[in-house]
Amino acid sequence: MGTILKVVDLTKDFGGLRAVDEVCFEVAAGTITGLIGPNGAGKTTTFNLLAGTFPPTAGRIAFDGQDITDLADFETFRRGLVRTFQIPRPFSGMTVLENLMTVPQDQLGERFWNNWVRGGAVRAQERRLREQAIDILEFLGLDHLGEAPAGDLSGGQLKLLELGRALMADPKMILLDEPGAGINPTLLGEIVERIAALNRRGITFLIIEHNMDLVMTLCDPILVMADGGLLMEGTADQVQQDPTVLDAFLGGVPA
């Protein structure tokens, strides 16, 4: 299968601190790739660089055959590279359905004059978006909460809402930042199922996660970061048996 994301010598300095240090990796299209590593390894910074939240100090990023190194977050989103946040960021004062309907790009009605001159077309598009959003809410099991304010959702439901918003964008690839953090085991199982189902539909995932059960069952291959650098890449078995990985996570265990 082809490569969907290619990262070459990616580097990010925050003042004197090198958070990401000449990282190189590739993500094959159609995979669920894991990104693990101890706290402070540079995983979330890497996500921010990929998504265009801030620019890298050095290095290149190519997505779907095109260079996206210098693109801002809303531009990478347009190309189909969508990220979720470690701590969910819902639009709390809006309903769950409105949260989803906000997502799609270039809606006719987002240009305010279209609401005056092309009202009918705007309404027709709105109804299509609503159907799409309701389908996604049903898939995620959130449809009973469609008219609830997003601020009323529990932590796990917010994670699903984040995933739902990502899906509204018809993404080619989703960057998931700790989908399992703070989630009860039952809901976690549901989230894992949904990710696998979406992957079967052709969406590539790159997932940061500390829950090793989730990573080992869901992700292949797995990338391991430590101290800003890429430590290794391999299957779940290879990663688990690698002494340098154990060393990075547990710190100085004799191999």
């Binding site: 998504a51 939240t53 801002a72 977050d73 809303f74 531009e75 989103f77 347009r78 990220r83 946040f85 960021r89 819902p90 639009f91 709390s92 004062g93 809006m94 309903t95 359905l97 409105e98 309907m101 906000t102 997502v103 790009q105 809606q107 006719l108 009605g109 987002e110 240009r111 305010f112 609401n115 005056w116 705007v122 309404r123 709105e126 109804r127 978006l129 609503r130 309701i134 449809d143 009973h144 469609g146 008219e147 304010p149 918003r165 964008a169």
Partner: protein
């Protein structure tokens, strides 16, 4: 007191309330829906007032520019355009700033505009102000009351038109993006929205309405000077919006009416209650009273008299009665 004087007082009161309601509507687009902390409301109101005064007013012997004496509707139109243009320029340089920085810079701009009015004597006549501004319909009848009633109709028509237009816009996908930006700017940007462009649009539209309100004021009162455009005005409008219901256009209009009633009604009350040697402090007591209303409102009904609708977007209902329809405020 006979009926006619009560009526003419009521009309006069409502005209003034409508200047505030209209300004509050403009601020609602910025603060209520987009979360822009514009602390320079009075500046844009002043730009509208001075523009209309210059466009419609008579030629003064001591000014170098202005006194075009054009029809009043052109003054209103010019006021909308200049305040929108000023908002575009100001917004373009300040709207990349967030919350408190935006507040500080807009406050500075309002003060600058007032200082310009005070010092640009060849256009504004400085502290002497611009006078004899034409009022539409005046002289149409012998009665001042009829004039004012007609002017009230103009004001209500403006409020109605702006309300109708703003409602339609905030309930559209465009308005949904504004609210997303208000709720979480970073997430809105991550979802591909050009946050700056939307903030600028909301800012310009809101300021244009503030400018129109200023023009309505100038041509009603017939005389404007820099003392009319002091920073306390901005805070009055914020209190009106918060009391009425930030994020609800009807609330913005209602807040203007309610708070203006309290403000103008409290003047007489305070004068009656205060002992004679404290009468000079009556104006300060009024400001304290407004502050108290704001604090009580924030403590006991932070969403305002009319809270924001539960579902704002036109088409955002699950349908099929899956849930009982949410109560619209």
């Amino acid at each position: 007191m006979d009926f006619l004087s009560v009526l003419s007082f009521a009309v006069f009161f409502l005209i003034f309330a409508s200047f505030f309601s209209l300004t509050s509507l403009g601020l609602n687009m910025q603060w209520g829906f987009t979360g822009l902390f514009n602390v320079g409301v009075v500046g844009f109101y002043a730009i509208g007032a001075y523009t209309s005064a210059i466009v419609t007013g008579p030629a003064y012997p001591d000014t170098l520019f202005g006194g075009f004496g054009l029809p009043v509707p052109l003054g209103y139109l010019a006021a909308i355009l200049t305040s929108a243009l000023a908002a575009f320029v100001v917004g373009f340089v300040t709207l990349r700033l967030r919350e408190d920085y935006l507040a500080i810079s807009t406050f500075g701009i309002a003060v600058t505009i007032q200082l310009l009015a005070l010092n640009l004597q060849s256009v504004t006549r400085g502290p002497n102000g611009l006078y004899s501004l034409p009022k539409p319909f005046s002289g149409l009848s012998a009665s001042n009351l009829v004039d004012n009633l007609l002017y009230l109709l103009i004001c209500l028509a403006c409020i109605g038109a702006v309300y109708w237009a703003f409602e339609r816009m905030v309930r559209s996908p465009w308005g949904r993006v504004l609210r997303a930006i208000r709720e979480d700017e970073t997430a809105a940007a991550a979802l591909g929205k050009n946050v700056f462009a939307y903030r600028l649009q909301a800012f310009v539209l809101g300021c244009a309405v503030m400018g129109l309100a200023g023009a309505l004021y100038a041509n009603f009162i017939g005389y404007i000077s820099p003392q009319d455009f002091v920073p306390i005005f901005t805070f009055q409008v914020y209190v009106m919006l918060i009391v009425g219901g930030s994020g609800n256009n009807r609330g913005a209009i209602l807040g203007g009416l309610v708070v203006w009633a309290l403000w103008s009604g409290s003047g007489g009350l305070i004068a009656a209650v205060l002992p004679p040697d404290l009468q000079t402090q009556a104006a300060a007591v009024r400001i304290v009273l407004i502050g108290l209303i704001l604090v009580l409102m924030l403590l006991y009904r932070p969403a305002g008299i009319l809270r924001e609708r539960h579902i704002v977007s036109h088409e955002a209902r699950m349908g099929d009665g899956a849930r009982p329809p949410a109560a619209d405020a």
